[in-house]
């Protein structure tokens, strides 16, 4: 018989799950949990400075490894603070297990100190959630939470644990098995045959790889299908890296800030194959005008995604790795010369960036220089805004999980703690963070965590002293009435970072950026460099929100397009 309290049981079960890092902040309602964690020799606790940081740090671990990340917060404000990171994980299907303290059971519903209805608030933003009612239940709930987070379409699970459950004594005969990813369902064979026939028949097919490819570990299978069928391949923001950027069949990202050539090809395709992608409005533009001439094949592990927004002619519900693997022998080798020539012509005419736009001192140039210095092994985290879209447009992502970015929820403040998480999970590899001055200020306190943990992250602040994408929309769609988007003070980010004990630099307007970046990359441990970017640098091309992807503003050779 094993006898211990609920908190010790939780920590024991987490150890048995193989968890080695937990991000969190202690408070009144989860102190027993911290008392138990103090005894653990296997789990390292990372003290963050805000619960949202802890949630994103756990996401950084989960996104960079594919395993579940774990975070702790106390009741009340601790819980409400961490919910943004939980919602973010929900929209991007990231497996995290969030364990919150709650006021003692007897006080629930009395408006006790630091009491909020964490269970109720987390229902719509979790894959599943629990309010633990007895310490015994933990034996079932903790392994089940990991099973749910990792199985099928991954997602966050929240477990709310009242303080008296943490201190209650529990006895049990044997430890339960750790929860793990359950075997995914496989797609129907008849549907696979039909999909293969459609692909073989198509003259102008385009494949679109989404985040599901990365979650399923299906990049190799995808590449084999792409190459055998000569399928021009676009990626969603979440899918970047699943086909190397330099691959001859890669069209890069699709949607609002895609290369003109990519969206133009999509308008023209006769078959659109979505693999692990969910037809997000930022990817499709006005949905009724998306791929207007195309048949649709939709591969997804979540049956509710198929035909949710766009009717699929063939829906392959199941593990996308399995579906692609079984599709490979069924599709014919086809060079599709005419279609590929047509796309190559479009790409020559409308490249993502003109040669003039990729010299250092421009946003693209800066990103490409950093990519060159960082090498292929690095992870790249971004925050949310212009810098994120520029990075998505031109960074040469060459493998799954290389990019960590908040896609669905688009949470400013995601980048810094996520980068720390990736770095702690991969201490031997460099992590680059592209952020903006607006985003960085949303979780700037985590600079302290980065220094405390000596995380090997290099923070590139692309500083236009404004909320750049908001300003861009005001420029384009609100008669240039810039309101509440320009910051009126200039922050010395290098001085701030130094105040946290971090090595930091300010790039002067006339400095030699390349040699400065080389110095930054050579620093051991965390380092920040602040690079001024002109406010007027916009992200082009841009499809106005709600418009069809055929309607793009700006970008290279826009004037030649006549649309």
């Amino acid at each position: 018989m094993f006898t211990m309290n609920g908190a010790q049981l939780i920590v024991g079960l987490l150890e048995r799950q193989g968890i080695t890092t937990i991000a969190g902040i202690p408070g009144g309602a989860n102190l027993p949990l911290y008392d138990a964690l103090y005894q653990s020799t296997r789990i390292r606790h990372v003290l963050c400075r805000h619960e949202q940081g802890a949630g994103f740090l756990a996401q950084g671990i989960a996104r960079s490894t594919g395993a579940a990340g774990v975070c702790f917060a106390t009741s009340g404000p601790g819980a409400t603070n961490i919910l943004t990171a939980v919602a973010d994980a929900y929209l991007d299907s990231i497996p995290i297990v969030c364990i919150t303290g709650q006021v003692p059971s007897a006080l629930i519903g009395t408006d006790a100190f630091q009491e909020v209805d964490t269970y109720g608030m987390s229902i719509p933003i979790t894959k599943h959630n629990y309010l633990v009612r007895s310490a015994d239940e933990l034996l079932r709930i903790i392994p089940k939470a990991f099973e749910l987070a990792l199985s099928g379409r991954p997602g966050p699970v929240l477990i709310d644990v009242p303080k008296d459950i943490q201190t209650a004594t529990v006895s049990f005969a044997e430890w339960p098995e750790p929860g793990c990813r359950q075997e995914p369902p496989v797609a129907d064979q008849a549907m696979l045959l039909e999909a293969a026939a459609m692909i073989n028949r198509a003259r102008r097919p385009i494949l679109c790889l989404g985040g599901g490819i990365i979650h399923a570990g299906a990049a190799e299978e995808a590449r084999a299908v792409v190459e055998k069928g000569s399928l021009p391949t676009a990626m969603t923001l979440m899918g970047l890296g699943s086909l190397p950027a330099g691959h001859s069949l890669s069209l890069g990202m699709l949607g609002m800030h895609a290369a003109r050539s990519t969206n133009m090809a999509l308008q023209d395709c006769d078959l659109f194959i979505a693999a692990g992608a969910r037809f997000d409005d930022r990817a499709t533009g006005k949905i009724v005008e998306f791929c207007p001439a195309a048949h649709i094949i939709h591969m997804d592990i979540d049956p509710s995604e198929v035909s949710k927004l766009k009717n699929a002619h063939v829906g392959l519900v199941g593990d996308v790795k399995e579906s692609l693997g079984r599709l490979l022998p069924l599709i014919g080798r086809d060079e599709r010369k005419i279609w590929r020539n047509r796309i190559e012509l479009l790409q020559e005419l409308y490249p993502m960036a003109s040669p003039a736009a990729i010299i250092p001192d421009t946003p693209y140039g800066l990103i490409l220089k950093v990519a060159e210095l960082a090498g292929e092994e690095c992870f790249v985290a971004t925050d949310v805004g212009k810098h994120q879209m520029w990075t998505a447009q031109v960074y040469p992502f060459n493998r799954p999980r290389q990019l960590l970015t908040s896609g669905g929820l688009g949470t400013m403040g995601f980048g810094l703690p996520a980068a720390i998480g990736a770095s702690l999970a991969h201490p031997e590899r460099p992590v680059i963070l592209f952020t903006g001055d607006g985003s960085l200020q949303m979780n700037i306190q985590e600079l302290a965590t980065a220094v405390e943990q000596q995380a090997n992250i290099k923070i590139i602040v692309m500083n236009n002293n404004s909320l750049g994408l908001v300003r861009q929309q005001q420029n384009l769609f609100y008669e240039r009435q810039f309101f509440a988007s320009d910051f009126r003070i200039d922050i010395d980010f290098a001085a701030i970072a130094k105040g946290f004990g971090m090595t930091a630099f300010n790039a002067a307007v006339d400095c030699r950026l390349e040699s400065l970046l080389e110095r930054v990359m050579a620093v051991k441990g965390p380092c920040l460099v602040n690079v001024p970017i002109a406010k007027e640098e916009e992200v082009y091309p841009m499809v106005p929100p709600g418009a069809s992807n055929s309607f793009m503003l700006g970008g290279c050779n826009a004037e030649k397009c006549g649309c």
Binding site: I123, H128, P185, S304
Partner: protein, 105 residues
């Protein structure tokens, strides 16, 4: 494999014109919030609910009256995903449990 609840289809008798979903669910205080929350946040209309505990209170039976023909498949797929939902029966022609209720209002 992570198994979603299966859907059974029954067209017993024409009661109310509105279709009814009959769910078997785990019985704990959060289940009703999960079901109702799913409907409200995805903008599906839920017209009526009847819920009773069964099997010594371990599980509950729940009848949902729905007026969402166009979105029905999507509604069902979303309900199926809830881990607390154990079984779903679809009554396309309504269910008699709602027919007598009008005498109380």
């Amino acid at each position: 494999m992570q198994k979603n609840a299966d859907v059974e289809r029954r067209q017993v008798r024409a009661g109310s014109a509105m279709m009814v979903l009959e769910l078997t669910v785990n019985n704990h205080p959060g289940v009703m919030s999960h079901i109702c929350g799913l409907f409200s946040r995805r903008a599906y209309n839920l017209e009526g609910i009847v819920c009773v505990p069964i099997a010594n209170g371990e599980i509950s039976r729940m009848w949902l009256q729905i007026n969402e023909e166009q979105k029905l498949d999507q509604v069902i797929k979303q309900v199926q995903k809830l881990p607390d939902v154990l079984g779903i029966v679809r009554h396309d022609a309504g269910h008699e449990i709602f027919t007598g209720l009008s005498t109380f209002v």
